[in-house]
Symmetry: D3
């Protein structure tokens, strides 16, 4: 950690490093992240209908998100590789807001937490929805991606 | 395209497909996407100072974002592989909002556009900032990821 | 090509090489590959019901297959990277054989064909079905993966 | 697990999930999978001769297969990442059938089994043989990919 | 390009960017890179014998190198994705120096050169030799990795 | 291990295999590797100035190297996947030699060592420096990549 800033991913010379977790215990850790994508009415309807029919935008987004959770340490430079033990992705249609909310839950028994895995999964879920619907609405916006809660490890429980 | 919904990534049986772009001309296409991450004051200061000193959060985020732009078709299921010709990522500090704004500009000469590459780059830039600062602030939120503009291809120019 | 064996992926010293396609014209090429997986009755029913309900084994297998088509040159050592222009994956239930048949169609405008992309997509589609159903039937068998047809390039049309 | 179908990769709403293995013990697990590729006489001879000379089709296929075993969780959507402890790939020439048989043996100490790693390795071995010989025979067929045996974990020993 | 330093991978603010090659013509480009690994006598003998027998260190290294050439833009941050048209890797035993020399030749028709693909292939070839022989000699050293020659593109021919 | 040559990555038939580490204890292991790149004066100055200004060649090289350490088992065929616990990359300017030295330190608690991770990280750090400076000097040379020291595991401590 760089004492001047409190940033853990930098050493005292300010150089980027992977935090040394070799001395840490392997414990059970979990993280839940959410985010949403605001869409227009045509897209909202297409997604809503897709969940009943074959054109399953959310089904494709879910698969992409789970694969992304596993790939997180290949994408985020200073993230540690982790043997993800569980990953589920849920979607909630928000008709009043004409939006879709994504929630990713990730669990591992490891030396460090899975917050980035959960956040990355949510991001990719929403990006996939965008990709599949962009022919209808280029003005979609991904919003409010944040960590809802995490547990395990030295910093213990966190609820936003 | 599925005529009932207008979604292009599904055929008439509603099955997910990669859109057939083999008949399309290779033309010059560009896309610009933006997004931001809202942080607390301690993180804002650490990032701001980092741009002057060695602890360069934004420098690491920029590299991750450019690499992510290139990897987009491996992450978003129905995206086409594209030989990205250019990618740049810019950051803007927003002191009044205690936030950092990321902008990704991508160019290609190809059969389809680079909107997903730009959006994915922005997402990974912001996720990387989150990863590097999460020890100080777990409440950060990624917001307003959207396509600013695109040009080229059949649908031509789009400005949000 | 090694003249003694006729194998193109080896030079005259018999060393493995990527075939030099730099002198070849970029033309339109397509390939269709099929294969099947033989399953027990319980799995067959679960898959069949899944295509009507939310538990969509084939939907997940389709996404995995399309992503695999794009990743082929990273998996098969001497394959050339290709900008896949189109990929679709279809499934057919074969009740008399208690099996599921997968068909992958791939298109590109490039200097070499997409037979491996189509075959790899079929393989991964069937492997994914296996993964999702193996709790019910460990005796499943993947069979008859072959190239159905291809067109384009110097060797022109091939129909099995 | 979805109680209606018995499929473990779906929850009760039928949504695809990575099975939660966080509560499982890390035990020693092994899996052996086999498959074959039927070829014409010219290809059979080229492969047979290659195992004595420099043009080593099977050598290249072996390397591809081992690398594929390690990459399995990046290819099969709901597969768990596993720290593969051992992987070997053997080939057997079957002159009467004019075919080549591939066997992959994989071992790990982990929370879940390595059946998919072994099956994926066999698939890629056979696909690589196809790729290296397709200039001579486009009619080759990959057949009989199945799990031979596995041990370890809650379901214990399985022999086909 | 940053005018103050002449570095092309930085813009005027000194920020890292992928060079914009969208305006460049697609031309035929080639690059040849070499390097060597110095080993002890026991390793030299094992490699030399391997080229005659089944234990083919160089064969495995060759496959790894060709795959690495294709993966270069995923490893080197500001490298452009390129559809590699040809890649071959040759080894030369240097008995007087107790070393092995690797040469990678790469070709493409594209908007930018393949120097990094050739250098990366050589690096991975030598790293693979190290990996396969390190049980016998931990003191091996990789040396003299450089670009031998390149042709094509605006800067034309270069011979070291 | 092949008893005739002492090479561990081959079995008795001389076939390449991943060494079976399933019986080995998980212990703490570390490895340090170094290498250098010789450059001309203009490049040396650009790098030296970059460490003070925004144009940070070494910063980009560091990120690439850390990401490469994590990707090692995907690049080196017979390497085992390892959950890297720590990775740092340091650079030292050598004015008398007009060169830059890179040092990678990697740690893990696992069944096998991290020598290849450290060597691969150094190699990619130097390749990235080459990529970023090649417009100024095509004659750069990567040299002296070797393992400095390792500890842990059955072979214990090694210092070059």
């Amino acid at each position: 950690m760089d004492p001047k800033t409190g940033l853990t991913h930098f050493d005292e010379q300010g150089q980027a490093i992977m935090v040394d977790v070799s001395g840490k215990q392997e414990t059970f850790r979990t993280a839940i992240a959410t985010g949403r994508i605001a869409v227009n009415q045509a897209v909202y309807t297409a997604i809503e209908q897709g969940t009943a029919r074959k054109g399953d935008v959310l089904g494709v987004a879910r698969v992409a998100a789970i694969m992304a959770a596993k790939a997180t340490s290949s994408v985020i430079p200073l993230c540690h590789p982790l043997p993800i033990a569980k990953c589920s992705v849920d979607f909630e249609l928000l008709p009043d807001e004409c939006a879709v909310k994504a929630t990713a839950t990730v669990k591992v028994t490891g030396q460090t937490g899975v917050e980035m895995e959960a956040l990355h999964a949510v991001s990719v879920a929403l990006l996939t929805i965008y990709d599949m619907c962009k022919a209808i609405d280029k003005r979609m916006e991904i919003q409010q991606i944040h960590l809802d809660r995490k547990s395990g490890g030295k910093s213990g429980e966190f609820v936003r």
